[in-house]
């Protein structure tokens, strides 16, 4: 019986804590769900730096205080769906911001859309996040655009005639991006055989000898590595260079993490990738201010994911302002009408799918630093 008593006490104390946190009225609740733990934790934390800054600068809207509630989604699908349901039903959020990673954003947006609560994605680039969901939006561009940008860059700027794609078969992001790159590359070169090789690996593999040997044997002009995780991409390039591949390596927005250069070292020098934001090539006034404020607060340059988190939060606040009410339906309608919003990642216009049409940025790695190369307008 003593044990039983102990268990009851433990349970009751949890319930007490539970009830302590709930409550408070008159606030406008904006829910945020991000992967704070698990394999995407780095991305989630970078995003939160931006979201926190945005919240600090705009703690009130319509004269009412904003309550920002962060819920961890553990980089898991089931947890992501639970997290959004919790934000909507338990925290009574009127709008939701999140999340890094399409894998978590898709179940999240399903739940939000069904409940009729608008969701603003920060950096999930897979088309299916918003497709057919009137309540789902995002602040970033989508993979078909990203794939086309890189194919365009390869053909027009690097004069590539042939390409090999090494994709992460266990990542929906990588498979999607690889597919859009191949389509665009074939269209631009006009040669259906211009993709000379396509080979897959699994997230978390360490030895890529088979893949890079295959790529080397095809002798392509460029190698496209749309990795789901930056660590894999860095290792592939390292091992590829050791195998004697001289072709240029290209990638997507996951490459932009300091760890990518740490792991890849000299080998990743001269690689090109597309991303959302660059602190040295800001296009708007808002971005200048953002870079200054961010450096003051965190003592470092902002990453693309922080910038997107900042934009996503502000887009929601802006929509609440324009809607003039905290009614989810009104916020959704205001979000859908977002046009030429001056964000830190460029001018943002949301199209009929809820996707942002905006510039992509191409960067390279030079002397152990990410370096701005070009801005690509939407086409």
């Amino acid at each position: 019986m003593k044990r039983l008593g102990l268990m009851v006490v433990i349970l009751l104390s949890f319930l007490l804590m539970f009830s302590l946190v709930a409550g408070a009225a008159e606030e406008i609740v904006i829910g945020v769900y991000e992967p704070m733990t698990g394999p995407y934790a780095a991305g989630g934390q970078m995003t939160m730096e931006g979201v926190n800054l945005a919240f600090e600068q705009q703690p009130t809207v319509l004269g009412r205080p904003i309550k920002m509630v962060l819920v961890d989604n553990k980089s898991e699908k089931v947890e992501a769906a639970n997290a959004v349901a919790r934000l909507i039903e338990f925290e009574k959020a009127v709008a939701i911001v999140g999340t890094y990673g399409s894998a978590c954003a898709i179940p999240g947006s399903e739940v939000a859309n069904k409940a009729g609560i608008p969701m603003m994605g920060c950096s999930p680039t897979n088309p299916l996040v918003t497709l057919g969901k009137p309540y789902a939006f995002r602040a970033c561009f989508i993979d078909p655009f990203q794939g086309a940008v890189m194919a365009n860059f390869a053909v027009n700027n690097l004069n590539a005639k042939t390409a090999v794609v090494i994709q992460d078969i266990a990542s929906d992001y990588a498979v999607g991006l690889s597919n859009f790159f191949r389509e665009a590359f074939i269209k631009l070169t006009g040669n259906p055989k211009s993709i000379v090789g396509l080979i897959s690996y699994q997230t978390g593999d360490q030895d890529f000898t088979a893949q890079v040997t295959y790529a080397a044997s095809k002798n392509p002009d460029v190698v496209f590595v749309p990795a789901g995780s930056y660590g894999d991409a860095a290792l592939i390039i390292k091992q590829g260079k050791e195998m004697g591949i001289t072709a240029k390596f290209l990638g997507g927005d996951t490459w932009e993490a300091p760890e990518f250069i740490e792991v890849g070292g000299e080998a990743v020098e001269g690689g090109y990738f597309s991303t959302h934001f660059d602190a040295t090539a800001v296009t708007t006034k808002a971005a200048e201010k953002f870079c200054k404020d961010f450096e003051e607060k965190y003592k470092k340059a902002p990453s693309a994911f922080a910038a997107l988190g900042f934009d996503a939060f502000n887009l929601v606040v802006d929509a609440i302002k324009r809607a003039g009410s905290a009614d989810p339906k009104a916020i959704r309608d205001a979000l859908a009408e977002t046009k030429d919003y001056e964000g830190v990642t460029g001018m943002i216009t949301l199209d009929y799918n809820g996707d942002a049409t905006k510039d992509a940025i191409i960067k390279t790695i030079e002397n152990g630093q990410f370096k701005y190369v070009a801005t690509v307008r939407p086409f």
Partner: protein, 353 residues
């Protein structure tokens, strides 16, 4: 004695009626967040009880549950999705012909999901169950990994890593709890039948069991197939609850969660599995409050993401240290047990006075 037995029957019927009434009220009045958690409870109970049949009652340590769940989830989703939805999902590699036009009601898709999963359970179980202990664990673990990798690469059937999205959400409390109650009832009756006694004898000592005339192969495969059947249905319900599935949802961590439920509840106790299955789903959400910022008497504590995992780990350690055989050991809760306890304690009081 006969009268008492009747009382229990009434009590049992009353219990089930109360549960049905509760589901009725909950489905109509509770908000979707609570319903989602209650659904998860039901699904965890189905998965836990079915794994307990294999691991707890038959003593065959299987790590393949996620594989069966994946099969169930995919088979059912491919059957109940509408052809239009399939076309939207398979935008990279089209779905192969017969599957792309089929659409059947949810209930049939569930049954077929369970049957296919059970069929695969037979195919895997028949050769593998010759192995014992660690070796069986390794082979079944390998099986669930093979399923995951296969599903990643069979793009024209499973849509590969892109998974299936926007699944219609059929799962409600009637489904999840109805099937959970059925699973508990079915497995309880199986355990209390001659089959069940044979299974337990295999767990205790398979050589002795064989010497007593128990057909080892038949009984082991039976428990494996029944376990796989319910795992398949559980996976199908989970898929429709989350509304999206991909091969990585069913990684080893999924099996690991179910194993935690079974071991903490007690290997060989259906009651324990039910209690912990429900607690697992509820605690994961309740403990979220630990991660949000709190203020105690003006003292502000910032939220720390990941804290609930830590508390969960501590709870697990408490269980391992103080309840060696899990919360319930191999005891079961029933009205008979309660009656026996109550009457015995009364007798003791009387004798004492």
């Amino acid at each position: 004695m006969i009268e008492k037995k009747k009382d229990f029957l009434l009590l049992k019927i009353a219990t089930i009626l109360i549960i049905i009434l509760f589901i009725f009220v909950a489905q109509r009045n509770f908000d979707t967040y609570v319903i989602r958690i209650l659904n998860l409870c039901g699904i965890y109970v189905i998965l836990g009880v079915s794994l307990n049949l294999i691991n707890g009652f038959t003593g065959q340590f299987s790590l393949g549950h996620a594989g069966f769940m994946a099969i169930g989830a995919y088979v059912s989703a491919l059957l109940y999705m509408s052809p239009e939805l399939k076309e939207v999902n398979y935008f990279i590699t089209p779905l192969i012909w017969p599957l792309s036009v089929i659409q059947i009601p949810f209930v049939f898709s569930l049954i077929i999901a369970g049957l296919v999963s059970a069929g695969v359970g037979f195919l895997v179980g028949a050769p593998c169950l010759r192995l014992r202990g660690d070796y069986l664990a390794i082979v079944t673990f390998g099986f669930s990994e093979i399923i995951r990798v296969l599903f990643c690469n069979l793009q024209n059937i499973t849509n590969g890593p892109l998974g299936l999205k926007g699944l219609p959400s059929y799962t409600n409390l009637w489904w999840s709890w109805g099937i959970a109650i059925f699973a508990v009832w079915f497995i309880k009756n199986l355990i209390n039948s001659s089959y069940g006694r044979a299974l337990k004898s295999i767990r205790e000592d398979d050589i002795a069991a064989e010497a007593m005339g128990v057909n080892l192969f038949y009984h082991k495969v039976l428990s494996f197939v029944v376990g796989a059947f319910f795992a398949g249905i559980g996976g199908a319900l989970l898929g429709s609850l989350v509304m999206t599935i991909d091969p990585n949802t069913f990684s080893f961590f999924m099996t690991f969660q179910i194993i935690i439920i079974v071991i903490v509840g007690g290997l060989g106790s259906i009651t324990g599995t039910v209690i912990v299955g429900v607690l697992f789903a509820v605690l994961m959400e309740v403990l979220r409050s630990v991660e949000s910022p709190m203020s105690f008497f003006g003292l502000n504590i910032p939220g720390i993401p990941g804290m609930r995992m830590l508390i969960f780990a501590i709870l697990l350690m408490i269980v391992v240290l103080f309840f060696h055989q899990g919360l319930m050991g191999n005891r079961e809760w029933s009205w008979e047990w309660l009656y026996y306890k109550l009457t015995r304690s009364k007798k003791e009081i009387k004798e004492g006075s």
